[in-house]
Amino acid sequence: MRPRLRSLRTQISAPEMRPILGASLTIGVAAGVFAIAFGVGAVAAGGTVLQACVMSLLVFTGASQFSAVSIVDSGGSTASALGSAMLLAARNGVYGLTMARHLDGSLGRRLVAAQLTIDETTAMATAQDAPDARRAAFWITGCAIFVCWNLGTLIGALAGEAIDPETYGLDAAFPAGFVAMLAPHLRSRTGRAVAIVGALICLATVPFAPIGVPILCAATAVLIGLRPP
């Protein structure tokens, strides 16, 4: 472990790592603020502080956690909350395919890396050119987000017990956050088409399907991807 640690420390103190460190910290802080919104929302949806914190520690993937809590909050069943959260979590498997080309080491190390394989770490790692920089960006961003995400959840959940979310417009914090999360997916023509069809399917099924199920129905919009680009 020691030489490995020392080499990581030398890597981190190298001048070319400074932009990575700066960006990781910024992403970490943003995740922390987002996590505060999650903590407040989880408690507003009837969760306990402990449930919110355990969810952030073990699930550790923002969009899935937000979607599970928002469906529970609007009165959906556990099954529908779980279903759509799992579909959203499936994309981390796709990130894993990308990261498998860049990460190596023992099985234990890769099992830890797996928990950190999410939108932000994959994006930061794949934005680097050198293999060393990719690995360093993955681990630094992953650790920064893990710490901030869990601290933010605790703060939000504790605060959520003390305030009324609707007074502060916090019920709109979720869709507003989703809007920001959707933006990168709208860059491609297919992404835009899938988003519009998904939204329309959801609107069309809300009056008829059980609460939360319209989100699952919307997943059928990905079949647009069957057509070659």
Partner: protein
Amino acid sequence: MTWTLVLLLAAAAYSFKVLGLIVIGRRQLPSTLERCLALIPAALIAALIVNDTFADGKDLVLDARAAGVAVAAVAAWRRAPLIVVIVLGAAVTATVRQLG
């Protein structure tokens, strides 16, 4: 919120991560499957936005949330940071709700 939800989701989320990074790893998936999987967030997140903005149980409604989310959408389109998008969305919703 139930512990069943928290723990099953934790198990499922970690399984997907391990499946991609370690089990499948460097092997190639059929490109059609990979393309459809990559489109899941676009479909689901768009659906979550309209659901959280316009649904009240099984009714479709137009209330303060729509104003907040519209402002958030403009902010996101102008590439404002995530924090700004969320705070704007919440603040506008709270303000419109106070006025209404």
